[in-house]
Symmetry: C2
Subunit: 131 residues, 2 copies
DNA sequence: ATTATAATTGATATCCGTTATCATTTTATT
DNA sequence: AATAAAATGATAACGGATATCAATTATAAT
């Protein structure tokens, strides 16, 4: 993979924005923060996918219809609040030994997984009480 | 929800086809099995979404770009083979007490979740050996 | 440095899954 | 039988993502 200024910006911006943005969202942020750089939307999509294939970025497929990206590639899960629509990282290991368990019980070899939880986050729960 | 012939066909066909088809796939099957019924694609989408909202069908959001539907609404997970692209039900409880665990550690209230595993299924693993 | 080759880019057309629209038909209610 | 509500089919429209392609940039070789 050759160097490119645009890819550098994309990685930096994704790293700084831990909100698991979509490609389009990231594109908007980049345009705002780098008004001079004439980056195109296709470049953002292209690079995010290339980086995901290379394992440098994680593509979360389980969120609505549009894919979100996460610079954090180590094993963790995601929680999406149905009210505020924010996406949170979940570090609790709710599914320990998942790969081993599946292999032993089914003979299937798990290489990747998405665990996305939906619900209401703490803040929004508290807000409801105050209404 | 009023009765409709089309909805009956949709539910029946989904139940008979436990392969977690997309709306389009289901539409194709229905057209093949009911050549006389002039069912439209929009009706299939509409009904599947309505049934999902009513909890009579499960919408799996974590599979590629197109949504798949499952007539089985009780808690279970899905495994998609990267080779044969088939989707399997996983009945092993790999994430026990998920709702409770998340609430205790984060204060978030989980109402729903998708756990989709990717990898290679048993059959395809065996096929590879024979190559 | 100069050149050659491959990678990357931006602009935009295109694709495709899904939803919106709306006139018509079907279902349930009285 | 009359009415209101729900559902339908056909299709236009939407939006996220990808494909295309000429132009630009990066890398390697000379």
């Amino acid at each position: 993979m050759n160097y490119s200024k645009q890819r550098e910006i994309i990685i930096d911006t994704l790293t700084k924005n831990a909100v698991h943005p979509t490609a389009e969202k990231l594109y908007e942020i980049i345009k705002k923060e780098h008004p001079d750089s004439k980056i195109g939307i296709a470049t953002v999509y292209r690079n995010l996918n290339k980086l995901a294939t290379a394992g440098k970025v994680k593509k979360i497929n389980a969120l609505e219809n549009s894919e979100h990206f996460d610079h954090n590639t180590h094993d963790h899960y995601h929680f999406m609040c149905n009210k505020c629509k924010q996406i949170f990282d979940i570090e609790v290991d709710i599914a320990p030994d998942i790969v081993k368990k599946i292999y032993e019980s089914t003979g299937f070899k798990v290489t990747d997984y998405d665990i996305v939880l939906n619900g209401i986050c703490k803040n929004c729960l508290n807000d409801n009480i105050n209404l």
